[in-house]
């Protein structure tokens, strides 16, 4: 592998910029956003440069490393602060810096009237730095730094308007749920170290074939837990909806395009673990399948445009996770879907932001309607994203999602039918809820009151949307033509060039099937939401109620974790005071009591003192008598 001295700037530049903006404070208010955008753009430039340089190399030379510092070295544990840029990470670098830069640009305008815009950009840069560290790390432990770094950035951005208690709570919830996942990542790293004596990707990869399957399954399960936390997968999915509290560009960048896909990256990066453990793979597909349906179902009932999109994100990542669990062949499709999803979902989120921008931050779709007329660019770019997610050819989603559905069917046996069926069902529901979003927002009668003045967003906002829309159209084709991405990633994943399982159906059949269910789903939505009330109806079925309540995920967490947790806390606080400290105080009390008793012996009568002496003497005599007897 070649060494390279510039990789570190990818991380250092945005990190430095973030620190600078935060430390300088108000002084930097005037130009802070510009600096941040410039830095973000320059990281994209470096990324692009490295991408082309990589393409010009071949074979093992494509991956490059940089040793930055000797980080931790204790006993046999040696973790270097080293960066690794290979075919997998470059995809992410481009996605992160590319989408990231677009969103920086978008935010310049979107956040124009916020007094803390500088701080917002500082956080964005911090995020870019952390996310790049995550994908550039050459060991699990370095990855962990980025992993938590993005968590911090996400926390800060979700809670950007933390004066509103609900938003602050949402931020905290996201961080804590992520931390649950981090326990998984920690344990995975720890087990890996005890197994392999190293935590670098290369080292673990080399050792994996020699490890016991139990260990590999354990590591795999823990990595999955980590991925579930970061990527809002079942059972740690509940934070993502609330995370929409953050400004919309944040939702686009972090909670749609990049950070939440880190779980997919992690599993893909650890393909050597999952390849070696079928149990771990099984867990992965189960989580993926559940989540893709879970998210989709929630999406059908959300009136908040951002939450509907968030549910969709959850569902789409479910697809990716599902793909990663389908064996060596699946990883590339997961990444493919990840990239296309990055374009269309970011585009749609920005579109949602644009709508909100024009509608005085109204997020309830029931108060929208017929907006296409007022914000055509937004409507078109959003529409491209919509078509992409539905998987209409030739839009991006068609190439990526169908591949996943296809591979799922090919998993074989009942598993294949179940997974394929779930994926297909998911596609139908996706079509339903996305159509619902589009219909409620852009089509139909206007349901907003006269106070609102919907208008198209300024150039700085629609330009990124347009670029992302182009991506939504083209990326799928570009990446999959001639299996470009699959081959590109070949050395990292599926190096053995394993084919998928026996084809259950022809790819065309799958595509047609998928298209069919999509049409059904979309059609159902159009029929149902032709007309809609501006208030959510209350006489609804039990299923709708459940979906509106996020399938009771929060109630569940509250009942199973939060309330018992609070109970435990209260109990322990009381126990600590009454029992443990009480025991200590009890000693004091006992001493006092004995002391008072002893005091009463001292009654002041000389004769009783004499009696005590005599009794004492007799006791001594008795003792000696007994001892010497």
């Amino acid at each position: 592998m070649k060494a390279n001295n510039y990789l570190v700037y990818l991380i250092a530049l945005p990190l430095f910029s973030a620190a600078l903006l935060l430390l300088l404070g108000r002084i930097a208010d005037k130009w802070g956003h510009l600096l941040a955008t410039l830095v973000s753009a320059s990281t994209f430039a470096i990324g692009a440069y490295e991408f082309f340089a990589m393409r010009s190399r071949s074979g093992v030379d494509r991956a490059i490393t940089q040793h930055v510092i000797q980080w931790i070295s204790v006993g046999t544990l040696k973790v270097d602060g080293a960066l690794l840029l290979d075919q997998l990470s470059i995809c992410f670098v481009l996605l992160i810096t590319g989408v990231g830069t677009l969103i920086h640009i978008y935010s310049i305008s979107y956040m124009e009237h916020d007094e803390n815009r500088r701080r917002f950009f500082a956080y964005l840069n911090l995020f870019i730095a952390a996310m790049l560290l995550l994908v550039l790390a050459d060991s699990y432990l370095s990855l962990y730094v980025g992993w938590e770094g993005v968590g911090l950035a996400s926390y800060l951005l979700i809670g950007f308007w933390n004066q509103r208690p609900a938003y602050a709570t949402a931020a905290k919830k996201a961080f804590v749920a992520n931390r649950v996942g981090d326990v998984g990542l920690s344990l995975a790293i720890i087990i890996a170290f005890t197994q392999f004596g190293t935590v670098s990707f290369a080292g673990v990869k080399a050792g994996a074939p020699h490890a016991s399957s139990a260990a590999l399954t354990a590591i795999g399960a823990m990595l999955l837990l980590a991925a579930a936390g970061k990527s809002a997968q079942f059972p740690l999915q509940s934070w993502l909806g609330d995370a929409m509290a953050g400004p919309t560009p944040v939702s686009a960048l972090i909670h749609a395009a990049t950070m939440v896909t880190a779980g997919v990256y992690l599993i893909t990066r650890s393909n050597f673990i999952f390849d070696a453990s079928s149990t771990a793979r099984l867990l992965v597909v189960i989580v993926g399948a559940i989540t893709l349906l879970f998210g989709a179902i929630i999406g059908t009932a959300k009136d908040d445009i951002k939450k509907a999109l968030a549910a969709s994100t959850m569902s789409q990542i479910g697809y990716m996770i599902l793909a990663t669990g389908l064996g060596p062949i699946g990883y590339a499709f997961a990444i493919l879907h990840l990239l296309t999803h990055g374009f269309f979902k970011a585009g749609m989120f920005l579109g949602a932001g644009s709508v909100m921008h024009g509608m005085d931050d109204e997020v309830n779709m029931r108060r929208y309607g017929g907006l296409a007329k007022f914000m055509p660019i937004t409507a078109i770019t959003f529409g491209f994203g919509y078509l992409a997610i539905l998987g209409i050819p030739p839009f991006a989603g068609f190439y990526s999602k169908d591949k996943i559905i296809e591979t799922a069917f090919n998993a074989g046996g009942n598993k294949g039918w179940i997974l394929g069926g779930a994926a297909l069902l998911g596609a139908a529901i996706t079509a339903f809820y996305m159509t619902r979003v589009v219909v409620l927002t852009f089509i139909g009668a206007k349901r907003w009151d006269s106070m609102a003045h919907p208008h198209e967003s300024p150039l700085l906002m629609w330009l990124p949307m347009a670029i992302l829309a182009i991506g939504s159209v083209t990326s799928g084709f570009l990446l999959s033509s001639g299996s470009a991405l699959v081959h590109w990633l070949q050395p990292i994943v599926n190096a053995g060039n394993v084919e998928g399982g026996k084809e259950l159906m022809k790819p065309l059949t799958v595509s047609l099937l998928a298209l069919g269910v999509v049409v059904i789903g979309a059609g159902a939505a159009i029929i149902k939401y032709r007309t809609v009330a501006s208030e959510a109806p209350s006489n609804i079925s039990i299923f709708t109620k459940a979906a509106r309540k996020d399938l009771y995920q929060d109630s569940f967490n509250e009942a199973v974790l939060m309330r018992p947790g609070q109970g435990l806390t209260d109990t322990l606080v009381k126990t600590d005071h009454n029992l443990i400290d009480g025991a200590v105080r009890g000693v004091g009390w006992t001493l006092n009591t004995i002391s008072s008793a002893a005091r009463s012996i001292q009654n002041g009568y000389v004769r009783s003192y004499a009696l005590i002496m005599v009794l004492g003497t007799l006791a001594l005599v008795a003792t000696v008598w007994l001892v010497t007897l």
Binding site: R599, S600, Q602, N603, G604, Y605, V606, R607, A610, L611, V614
Partner: protein
């Protein structure tokens, strides 16, 4: 007569003295009981002197008598003072210092 009987007598005297100290209220009587105990010890000394066949015990008893006389001097001084202050020689009355 068995010489041990002297020891029994001595022990009995000592016990009577000790009991007297415990049960009697008048300071003078209490003090007399103490003297009785000292004399019990004296009796023991003399007895043991006889038993051991040397005179050390007898010498000791003389010393004891002198010391006892000194004790009387000091003791009576104290008892008289307190009697003058309190108009009472009962040891039970002198029980302000307690607890």
């Amino acid at each position: 007569m068995d010489i041990a009987n002297y020891l029994y007598l001595s022990a009995a005297l000592f016990t009577i003295g000790a009991v007297g100290v415990i049960v009697r209220r008048n300071a003078i009587v209490v003090f007399m009981c103490v003297e009785l105990m000292l004399n019990a010890a004296n009796l023991a000394f003399v007895t043991f002197s006889r038993l051991n066949g040397n005179l050390d015990g007898q010498v000791a008893s003389f010393f004891t008598m002198v010391v006892a006389a000194c004790e009387v001097v000091v003791g009576l001084a104290i008892i008289v003072t307190i009697f003058r202050s309190r108009r009472s020689a009962s040891v039970d009355d002198a029980s302000l210092l307690k607890r």
